[in-house]
């Protein structure tokens, strides 16, 4: 049986919007191999780069925040990002676990 271990990210998104913030929703839409968080995991980001929730175990969040801020600045509605396994060069954004994830970014309008 699965429980709906709901992280209340969408509720928080609604609060942020009501506080007149520009908000981007990031959702894990696909995973391949060993990925840190399941499909449907969510994170929200505002124009200042504040964020809540997660789409990985901390591996790609910084890139997602950057892309989300770009989306807001360029006033684009959505964007799809894919993250693959990172190689050994330090500080590169990627998933150390060897999995792949697709993250969908969308602005609320």
């Amino acid at each position: 049986m699965r429980n709906s271990f709901d992280e209340k990210i969408l509720d928080e998104a609604n609060d942020w919007i009501n506080a007149n913030q520009k908000v981007v929703l990031a959702t894990v839409i696909q995973t391949w191999g060993s990925s840190p968080r399941p499909t449907g995991s969510r994170m929200i980001i505002n124009e200042k780069g504040d964020f809540s929730g997660s789409v990985s175990g901390g591996c790609v969040e910084s890139a997602v925040v950057r892309e989300a801020q770009e989306l807001i600045n360029d006033n684009k509605p959505f964007k799809k990002l894919e993250f693959k396994v990172s190689n050994e060069s330090a500080w590169e954004i990627g998933l150390a676990c060897g999995g792949e994830i697709a993250v969908y970014l969308e602005q609320f309008n």
Partner: protein
């Protein structure tokens, strides 16, 4: 996603409704779909696939399309008998784990709104209280009073209704006496053995939050076994 859709989602979650969010990844248009309602016409051609995601309670992209489906299911209902100190910590854990808690305790001085703000508390004896709660085989019972007058009727109800998790607080001796009473009341060995008693996984701690943690850990583990 439109803010109006988000507001609808937040509202449905508050009402503990089951629904799916369907998003066209090509243009970020979303809709909310409830099983008993018509699907938005932009998505109607995917109805069968969306229904199957709904039934399997899964999230994902429909094969060969750009349609993403996320399902929201109702939280699991957990009935706690005994508005005691441990219950206060259970309520805290249950919040982040999204279990839906109802507390039963006929003793008014325990079951007060002040001690359990925002929690559904039934200040009644179990037999009467269960008339007001919708339960099924996806419901869990945590009996904490170790008073047979209060715990036993609740345990009997949970066994009769085939709850997926039944746990009862008390020492080995208390539990042995409890089993004996249930046997005398005509319950089978299998039924009696389905009760987790003494409740919780062994962590070693004796404080209220530690016992609550051991109970909630067992509850989560049993939830995934089912």
């Amino acid at each position: 996603m439109k803010h109006s859709i988000l507001k609808k989602i937040v509202d449905l979650k508050k009402q503990k409704k089951e629904f799916a969010i369907v998003t066209d990844l090509k243009n970020s248009n979303s809709t909310v779909y409830k099983l008993d309602e018509d699907l938005d016409e932009d998505f109607i051609q995917y109805k069968d696939q969306i229904d199957s995601f709904f039934k399997s309670k899964n999230n994902g992209v429909i094969d060969g399309t750009d349609i993403f489906v996320e399902t929201y299911i109702r939280p699991i209902k957990v009935v706690i008998v005994g508005a005691v100190h441990i219950a206060q910590y259970l309520v805290d854990f249950a919040k982040s784990l999204n279990f839906e808690i109802t507390i039963i305790d006929p003793r008014g001085y325990f079951a007060s709104e002040k001690r359990f703000p925002g929690i559904n508390i039934l200040n009644k004896w179990p037999d009467e209280a269960f008339n007001e709660i919708e339960t099924n085989s996806n419901t869990a019972l945590i009996a904490l009073t170790h008073d047979p007058k209060i715990d036993d009727p609740a345990l009997k109800y949970a066994i009769d209704k085939n709850f997926y998790y039944i746990g009862a607080l008390g020492s080995k001796k208390t539990h042995a006496n409890r089993c004996e009473r249930l046997k005398e009341a005509g319950y089978s060995e299998n039924q009696i053995n389905s009760i987790f008693g003494p409740i919780g996984i062994k962590l070693g701690g004796k404080s209220a939050p530690e016992i609550a943690l051991s109970i909630i850990a067992q509850l989560v583990s049993e939830t995934y076994k089912k």
